[in-house]
């Protein structure tokens, strides 16, 4: 399995800020995206590779085969390289939404990675962090940023989104409702991550 890019999106500052970042390519499959703590320190947490690998199973490969990791996908998954790439101070405000990132350092926690799926806006991939059976964090590994339509939406929406959006961490949800996904789109959905995790 050859994944073109796994990069971390800075959800706390919204999609707009992403547009100013240069796409950052990471090609090594073992080079998982750094998970950035909610607080000030941006340590990489590659020591979680074992548990994160468990969730990163067939689904991802299927989605890649279906085009999620196409060359377009690799640029579409634009993001900062977070801590590793000397990101600016604002980056530390978190690719993991919520305080779950600090919990990520404890043993017994695990991360489950959803597959990559192409939505109409581009490839999307999410990862959830679990402490026991509880969702403690969520990271968007890939999010679309390329289309003009996204640009317009993001510019207008940012102030509102910052107020309105909730992190899955604080929400303590059992299931997720959303615009109907296709069978392939399911792989990238939060519901898929919840199902995999058997939360």
């Amino acid at each position: 399995m050859r994944r073109a890019v796994l990069a971390v999106m800075v959800t706390a500052i919204g999609l707009v800020l992403l547009l100013s970042f240069k796409p950052h390519q990471i090609t090594a499959t073992t080079d998982r995206p750094a998970l950035v703590a909610q607080g000030d320190d941006p340590p990489t947490r590659n020591d979680q590779g074992d548990t994160r690998g468990t969730g990163d199973t067939r689904g991802t490969g299927d989605a890649d085969d279906s085009g999620g990791a196409s060359p377009g996908g690799s640029t579409g998954g634009s993001s900062s390289g977070s801590g590793r790439n000397g990101g600016s101070a604002t980056l530390s405000s978190g690719s993991w939404t919520g305080g779950g990132a600090t919990a990520g350092a404890r043993t017994g926690d695990r991360a489950v990675t959803g597959g990559v799926a192409d939505t109409v806006y581009g490839p999307v991939q999410v990862q959830i962090l679990l402490s026991g059976r509880k969702v403690t964090g969520i990271a968007v590994l890939r999010a679309p940023d390329r289309s003009r339509r996204d640009l317009a939406i993001n510019d207008e929406a940012l102030p509102l989104l910052n107020q309105e959006a909730l992190s899955a961490q604080s929400a303590q949800i059992d299931t997720v409702s959303g615009a109907t996904y296709t069978s392939e789109g399911y792989l990238a959905s939060l519901q898929s991550a919840l199902d995999k995790a058997h939360v």
Binding site: G98, E156, E164, L166, S167, T175, S177, A179, T180, A188
Partner: protein, 280 residues
């Protein structure tokens, strides 16, 4: 126990609580529910030339010759069309395609199959449209996150299930593009990024969510006039609105910290406040 079945062009997730993974009753009920969904798929698929809906559309069979499920769905479509002033149509783009009603109806039926088998506490999620039953754990209602249509991975709101709220349906363009047409203009509806309807029946909520999405912001007033249904919408620019009765869960302030015990509530087990399945 959990099960994910790929059917009807999407993934249907079953989440049954309070049963061991190999519980024979649960295994059998889930198998029944899954085979029902495949039967529905075969009947209603517009992609299968031999499906009852395709045959009916081409005039090769009459409505009377259709399976009773098809007749039921066509009646539901007519009802949804009437209720929405024509915003819902079983013939989007001309061809007979009752898909917008079928999925919610099928998921609600699947939930009913589980309940008939004694699996009271469960949740069926069909491609993002949800029918819940009972509760996920004693004293706690189902909490349904609504995916934010403009921020992948984030939630726009959380619905708290309870009396009269066991179904949550969301219509939007994030996953499949602008596929919902405004039947009055023939153009894709673009006013909303997504709209979520909460009510008791997923059949009703799903059909109304599709019509409401086609209406755009006008859906707000329309849903307010529908008994037993409430709506939450994210507009194309990221603003949100909701009808007054929308069962949004209160925000969880600090999930990481232990709950603060109040002296007033810790005087005895009969104390009011933290009890009752309706508390989110």
């Amino acid at each position: 126990m959990r099960l994910v079945e790929h059917v009807m062009g999407t993934a249907v997730s079953f989440d049954v609580r309070g049963r061991e993974p190999d519980d024979p009753v649960a295994v059998r009920a889930l198998a029944d529910a899954v085979s029902f969904l495949h039967e529905v798929d075969a009947m209603f698929s517009t992609y299968r030339p031999g499906s009852a809906v395709s045959l009916l559309d081409r005039g090769e069979i009459t409505p009377a010759e259709c399976p009773p499920e098809v007749t039921e769905i066509l009646e539901l479509c007519a009802e949804a069309s009437r209720l929405s002033g024509g915003y819902f149509t079983a013939r989007p783009g001309g061809r007979l395609d009752p898909s917008a009603v079928v999925k919610g109806w099928a998921v609600e039926r699947a939930s009913r199959i589980l309940r008939s088998a004694g699996l009271h506490d469960h949740c069926v999620n069909g491609g993002g449209d949800i029918q819940t039953s009972g509760s996920p754990a004693p004293g706690r209602p189902w909490r349904v996150g609504v995916a934010h249509p403009l921020r992948p991975g984030a939630l726009a709101v959380v619905v708290c299930a309870g009396p009269g709220v066991s179904a949550v349906a969301t219509s939007g363009t994030a996953e499949r593009g602008p596929h919902i047409l405004d039947p009055h203009t023939g153009r894709p509806a673009t006013g909303l990024a997504s709209i979520t309807l909460a009510g008791e029946s997923l059949t009703v909520a799903d059909a109304c969510a599709t019509a409401a999405f086609a209406m755009g912001d006008a859906a707000r007033e329309w849903v307010e006039g529908l008994p037993g249904l409430d709506a939450f919408a994210v507009t194309a620019t990221g603003a949100t609105w909701r009808t007054p009765g929308f069962p949004a869960a209160p925000p969880v302030l600090s999930p990481a910290s232990p709950p603060v015990s109040s002296p007033a509530l810790s005087t005895g087990p009969s104390g009011v406040g933290a009890r009752g399945p309706g508390r989110c």
